[in-house]
């Protein structure tokens, strides 16, 4: 184990997988000479050379399209989109090509492709660069959508994503890059895709979250503990496939749940998770499931308004109090 930031954990995962397998390469805007917009690939260009660390034009369609082509020929590209907001430019390649080629060609092709992208707001980047549209991508069968909430999971999940033969959208919340945690140093440390994980145990209320909201939920759980309420925090880690088993097992004990996401509430992750709770555990419902999410406005640029619109630790805390009628 070593203590490191999520940035380092992701960087390590990439580095180790590139060392392990020559068919792995990275491409994206500023990933090479500059070392990555978020410094995740610093030093990669000098070590692995320009053939495996490719700077691209500012053209997301070309980045994702090129990566798909490379994957079809048997390489394992890790394409970086500077932010997930730019994925909309490459939407057709992501949802119509990457998500469907294996299926539409009857399994003749594999698509061992990873698309990394940062998501989330809170850094005053304005409404078009601060979105959390993760749920949109999770809507499409054929795509795996992964988004870690801790440094250890970031490493283990990214390594699994690179080794997976399926296209994976790997979403990193930019405000989590500085979060520190213990990370296994084993070069074969893998976390399974499509498996949720209990990050904190408790018997009074289930808080379901992923990505940045896992950190917020853990802080809210500390506040709740001071009030004598023990919250269980279940980290989805993957939005597709969505693993409800730990959520349902937890809910059947607590009978109450809060689902927290940074994106908007309507048609979001909380909607899906709460619907499944009602479908799978209706007879265990003791209070309506509460969703915590971003206010339904384009995210404001003004720093105070931006924080007001984003879901906060306190929102999760209050929602949990409300569902336990505490």
């Amino acid at each position: 184990m070593a203590r490191m930031t999520m940035r380092e954990a992701i960087s390590r995962a990439l580095w180790e997988e590139m060392e392990r397998d020559e068919s792995v390469f990275i491409m994206g805007e500023e990933v090479g000479v500059w070392g990555g917009t978020y410094a995740v690939t610093k030093g990669f260009y000098d070590h692995f050379g320009p053939d495996r660390v490719k700077d691209t034009p500012i053209a997301e369609t070309a980045i994702v399209g090129g990566a798909i082509g490379a994957a079809l020929t048997g390489l394992r590209p890790v394409a970086e989109l500077m932010t997930i907001n730019f994925a909309f430019v490459a939407m057709d390649h992501i949802v119509n090509e990457a998500a469907k080629l294996h299926y539409m060609f009857a399994g003749q092709f594999k698509l061992p492709l990873v698309i990394r992208a940062t998501s989330g707001g809170g850094r005053q980047l304005g409404a078009t660069h601060s979105q959390t549209p993760d749920a949109i991508f999770a809507h499409f069968p054929g795509l795996k959508v992964v988004s870690p909430g801790t440094p250890a999971d970031a490493k283990g999940l990214l390594k699994s994503a690179i080794r997976s033969d399926d296209p994976v959208l790997f979403i990193e919340n930019a405000t989590l890059y500085q979060v520190k945690g213990e990370v296994p140093e084993d070069k074969d440390y893998l976390e399974p895709l499509g498996k949720s994980k209990v990050q904190r145990e408790g018997d009074d209320v289930t808080i379901v979250a992923y990505s940045k909201m896992v950190q917020a939920a853990l802080q809210a759980a500390d506040m709740l503990a001071e009030d004598g309420i023990e919250a269980e925090v279940v980290d989805l880690r993957s939005l597709r496939p969505l693993d409800m088993d730990p959520v349902i097992a937890s809910f059947k004990r607590t009978n109450r749940a809060v689902v927290a996401e940074e994106g908007w509430r309507s048609f979001g992750v909380g909607s899906e998770v709460s619907a499944r709770i009602y479908e799978l555990a209706f007879d265990y419902v003791d209070a309506p499931v509460k969703r915590v999410a971003q206010a339904e406005v384009p995210l404001p640029y003004n720093a105070d308004l931006e924080q007001l619109a984003l879901p906060q630790v306190e929102d999760i805390y209050l929602a949990a109090k409300e569902v336990v009628y505490g």
Binding site: R265, S266, F282, D283, V285, D286, A287, A295, V297
Partner: protein
């Protein structure tokens, strides 16, 4: 536009039903799918759901009335709509029915005062407190979990004080209620909830007098149908013993892989085996249509006899030949549970083409069943038993089960029925075939 609700036809042999209870009073709001009334047929008590949304404008029948199927029983109108007597009459006659001069509808209820919230959250999710304060059906607000516990523990929710928002009864309120019953010295009552103890009868030297008990509608129906079948259907019987060692082993292996709730029974295998064998013998999956025709059913729908209080019912696994055994097991379990609780659904008991009666769990060696009319045959299944058998000239212990086919001689003959029993042996004795 006003719509008529009619007495539903629940099963091909249902002629009339009793309106037991109105769930929706005149003036109540009705959503599509809401239960509006309870109907008793000679098979079960069934809830009638509304196919329309609107307001329960008028009841055309009273509780306790026996009504032929398709008789109009109520008028559901749009909110604010007030159809006149004439309009209702023309609706009824258009539906080919008649109604007695119905009583005048009650005056419209005063709408409950509804506080309008001036602020509307930009957020799309409606807050709970914005709902108009109208109690839900049944009059008691409670969580699904609270309702389940109350039902398990036999607690009447109207006795419980709710502590949740707007008085909603939640789990802890029921727990508190049960605790208070204990602390009030009503321990026995608290302990006894959920299980009605029968006093143990023992001889006191007194001989009880004769009792004359009324037959339930279900009992009357069984009595009528069985008499009809046994008097009018010329039954013949074929018994065969099946080797069940492989089947029992396979069931054990399969169940080792399944969660507790999904475990399959011997009967589930038999249902599948019978269904597949019937595919090869369509003449046994049939009914007498008229004096000169037999209807061979396209679907293989297996009726399974389930003992219920005061009688038995046949729940139906539709297209059993097409379904995996695990699904068959689940369906039978769910339908049987509903049947025993008197909450059977219309589709649970309709459309069987062949029936199975299994008394194996009582250790019965062998028995013959009466055909479930209008079907052509029924299979009576007895217990699986280890017994001495002779195999290759040696005495061994073998797993065996007897089954008796009762068949209608108007439809089929001994040789055909015997072949069916033989083909059934292929499936039961080499159960791998059930998965091919």
């Amino acid at each position: 536009m006003a719509e008529l609700v009619t007495m539903p036809k629940l099963g091909f042999d249902m002629a009339e039903g009793t309106l037991v209870r109105w769930v929706k009073a005149e003036g109540d709001t009705v959503e599509k799918g809401d239960v509006i009334a309870e109907i008793e047929t000679d098979k079960a008590t069934v809830e009638v759901e509304s196919s329309f949304a609107g307001v329960m404008f008028k009841h055309l029948a009273e509780e306790g009335e026996d009504l032929p199927v398709n008789t109009p029983i109520a008028v559901v109108a749009d909110e604010g709509e007030k159809p006149s007597e004439d309009e209702i009459e023309s609706l009824v006659s258009a539906a080919g029915g008649k109604t007695k001069k119905a009583k005048a509808p009650k005056a419209e209820k005063e709408p409950e005062s509804e506080e309008k919230k001036s602020e509307v959250e930009a957020d799309a999710a409606p807050a709970e407190k914005d709902e108009p304060d109208v109690a839900p059906a049944g009059g008691v607000r409670s969580s699904p979990l609270a309702r389940r516990i109350a039902s398990d523990k036999d607690v009447d929710l109207s006795d419980v004080q709710g502590s949740g928002p707007r008085g909603r009864i939640v789990k802890k309120d029921i727990e508190a209620y049960l605790d208070s019953m204990r602390s009030e010295g009503r321990e026995e009552e608290a302990e006894a909830v959920g299980r009605a103890l029968q006093p143990i009868a023992f001889s006191t030297g007194e001989i009880p007098e004769d009792q004359v008990v009324a037959m339930s509608r279900l009992r009357q129906a069984i009595s009528r149908r069985m008499q009809d079948s046994n008097q009018n259907f010329p039954h013949f019987y074929l018994t065969r013993e099946y080797k069940t060692g492989a089947l029992m082993q396979m069931r054990k292996d399969i169940n080792a892989l399944l969660p507790e709730a999904d475990k399959v029974s011997v009967n589930d295998f038999i249902i599948k085996a019978v269904a597949l064998a019937l595919r090869q013998y369509p003449n046994l999956n049939a009914r007498i249509e008229d004096d000169s025709h037999i209807r061979r059913f396209g679907q293989v729908n297996i009726g399974v006899a389930v003992a219920v209080e005061g009688g038995l019912m046949t729940v139906v696994v539709e297209n059993a030949d097409q379904k995996p055994i695990r699904l068959i097991g689940r369906e039978v379990r769910e339908m049987a549970e509903r049947a025993r609780e008197g909450k059977v659904r219309n589709e649970d008991i309709m459309g069987s083409t062949f029936s199975i009666s299994n008394l194996g769990m009582f250790g019965i060696d062998e028995f013959a069943a009466i055909i479930n009319p209008p079907e052509a045959a029924i299979l009576a299944v007895s217990a699986v038993q280890d017994k001495p058998v002779v195999e290759d000239g040696e005495l061994k212990v073998g797993s065996r089960m007897k089954a008796t086919l009762s068949a209608d001689h108007r439809v089929t003959d001994g040789a055909e029925a015997a072949e069916f029993m033989q083909v059934l042996a292929n499936y039961l004795e080499e159960p791998m075939r059930l998965f091919l």
